[in-house]
Symmetry: C2
Subunit: 416 residues, 2 copies
């Protein structure tokens, strides 16, 4: 049985351990929810002060040029590109993941409409993150052109679901609920063989697992910066489009920032060449600027080193929980196979909600997702092996004690 001392020894050998100092984590908390909201980089406070005092306060409107606000989507996109296998000038940070999904979904459907207008099906997983499904549903409803969603119940059903009627395969690379990691290259190849385009949502993989968009021959990708990338609460999302597809069509949210001549003040839209056409309206600069603090921590390491530690952390957590909590009705939802595991681990328990509340009271922050799923995110930049040991031990204590059965853990928040 692994001991806490063994975990401390792993931490002592961990070449990434020093990066924890780059984050401002509160005392007494084991934070296993960086897959929902990443921790605050230590540098963010000073950067916020600078944006408010020097850029907004003193620079005022001049800062659009003098502080480089205008170039932020591209500049941050270039830093982010390195983490997802994209090249220079291929990514912009802007808007929300939902909005960016809408853009690429319409773009992909337009490309397909020009190639083979009979393709009307968007294939996805029923367990895909709901907002992705909602956005596709809302789009199909708006277009009234016969588009529909086909949802599979498990990754294994995908090959049979993709066919001659398929316009787009829209998949979240790491499933938010199960932690299942799809084989991006294989699934994209399958989509292409069937004449479909592949859209990848990297919300739970950018900064969490190595991603190679170009190596996988992907067509479109979107994702968020506030989870593993530690950009700040609700920080703007990103979008990438394969260069050979980028200039074929308009994306539909044709705001001024995506115009070929942003200050030409013309009455007609003409999209900028390149990824700039995926910009739309004026961006929330303070939140956008802080994304850089998170990205700059990644520049001190690389995704292979992070992946190595991530798998060691999730392996350890799975093993410890399965040993420590063996007599309780916990079911591992996340694949054991490394090739199919992201950087979070989900267990089902009939009273998962109450258990998560009891854990939070003890300082172990994971989260709950309907139905019955306890979700624990492991972020190699700031999660230690001792954290993992402590979290598993506290979960065991809570389960053994039955304290989670108390009423206060079972009352749902008003907004659920």
């Amino acid at each position: 049985m692994t001991t806490r001392e063994h975990c401390l020894a792993l931490d002592a050998q961990d070449s990434l351990a020093h990066l924890r100092a780059d984050f401002a984590l509160p005392e007494g908390v084991i934070y296993l929810d960086g897959n929902s909201l990443g921790a605050r980089p230590a540098a963010a406070q000073e950067r916020a002060r600078q944006v408010l005092a020097e850029e907004w306060g003193d620079g005022l409107v001049r800062s659009w040029n003098t502080a480089g606000w205008r170039a932020l989507p591209e500049r941050l996109g270039n830093k982010l590109a390195q983490l997802i296998g994209a090249a220079e000038d291929e990514v912009v940070v802007t808007d929300t993941t939902s909005i960016n999904l809408f853009k690429v979904l319409v773009a992909a459907l337009r490309v397909q409409a020009n190639r083979d207008p009979s393709r009307k099906v968007i294939v996805s997983e029923a367990s895909n993150f709901p907002t992705d499904l909602y956005m596709a549903e809302g789009l199909a409803d708006m277009l009234q052109q016969g588009y529909s969603l086909r949802l599979v119940q498990s990754p294994e059903e995908l090959p049979a679901a993709i066919g001659a009627d398929t316009a787009v395969v829209m998949i979240t690379h790491v499933n938010y609920k199960t932690g299942y990691l799809h084989d991006m290259a294989a699934l994209t190849a399958l989509a292409h063989e069937c004449g479909a385009l592949a859209i990848w949502d990297l919300a739970h993989s950018a900064g969490a697992v190595p991603v190679d968009l170009k190596g996988a021959n992907a067509d479109y990708a979107i994702g968020c910066t506030y989870k593993y990338l530690n950009g700040g609460p609700g920080s703007p999302a990103f979008v990438w489009v394969a260069p050979h597809l980028r200039d074929l069509v308009w994306q539909p949210l044709t705001g001024w920032w995506g115009h070929a001549r942003q200050f030409g003040m013309e009455t007609s839209y003409e999209p900028a060449p390149g990824i700039g056409r995926y910009l739309c309206g004026t961006q929330p600069i303070t939140s956008l600027a802080l994304v850089e603090c998170g990205l700059d921590v990644f520049a001190k390491t690389d995704m292979q080193a992070l992946r190595c530690k991530s798998l060691a952390l999730t392996d350890l957590f799975i093993n410890l929980v399965q040993q420590r909590c063996a007599k309780h009705p916990l079911t591992l939802v996340t694949p054991l196979e490394h090739a199919h595991r992201g950087s979070h681990v989900s267990f089902e328990h009939p009273e998962g909600y109450a258990l998560i509340q009891a854990l939070i009271e003890r300082g172990v922050i994971g989260d709950y997702r309907e139905p019955r799923i306890m979700r624990f995110g492991f972020t190699p930049l700031y999660t230690s092996f001792a954290d993992v040991w402590d979290a598993a031990e506290i979960l065991g204590e809570i389960l053994d004690s039955g304290i989670w059965q108390q009423e206060r853990f079972r009352v749902r928040h008003k907004v659920t």
Copy 2:
């Protein structure tokens, strides 16, 4: 002729003068561009520190509930509602102006499609803010249902342009270029008489002129918070929908935040009742939270008092410039009639671009808009009468000296 001493006397009598202390304006600057980016409220720096340190840093993901992040769009919307003649629970602060325009445009077209599907025209002004026209153009292009834009060249042409084929009249209440203030009640009544719906963009009127959406019987309104509302660079925008129209149709950007059960994790979309359905994806919380600092300054006064001072400031500026710069080829673009004037003043000059650059070098910050327009915004919360006198005097000095003809003022920024 008005003297600087007279202006100082006006400042001494100004019941709003003390509010300037609520803003952090740099020394040596006369800021006449609050219609592009509002000045920083003094309170914003501490609020940012709090969001980063306490809410993001210490609260982490718990702050969605404990720091009220989840309720921010509605809470800020309620504060903003009071400035635009809307009621409690009718406004949300979210996304960008462009995105919100897209939402209400699709919603309005859907309402009309259910009433009279033959209405396919969106009426607007050729001089409307370009992004509004671009968004409508992009939408019409996407829907492929025969929608088109009809653009008038002047406000006087609007009555003839609105007719039995008109689905929507989409107007920016105060024209960004000319400063022309439309009569919202009259134009809305005209639209309704013709069976059309009225969408109002309040970008240059929220916080600048009294707005009475409900009194004017308006149908939809959107606007931005980073101009006269001083929310911060690119801070999230707002959207209002008349209650009787709100629940008739979906807006098309159907993200999780607008779902009736946000954490139900369902596979199908069901819009929330009320204005909540106009939310979409996760919002940039830091930028969003700072909007409150700007709104809280407005709570110390009222729009009638602000309007009174705004007109006094713009009257003064027009008079001073017309006297001081009489021998130069300046043409007033903004209406002299108070009923049709917003809170900014535009003059045309053949070398407007170079003049604005020369003014900025002298510490007078206005902005330039194609073609030939010098734009000066007057923000009663922090603009003094002496500022106006000084700005007009400096403009006169620059014109007299011919310094603006120097090469350095004529070179355009790379991004224009």
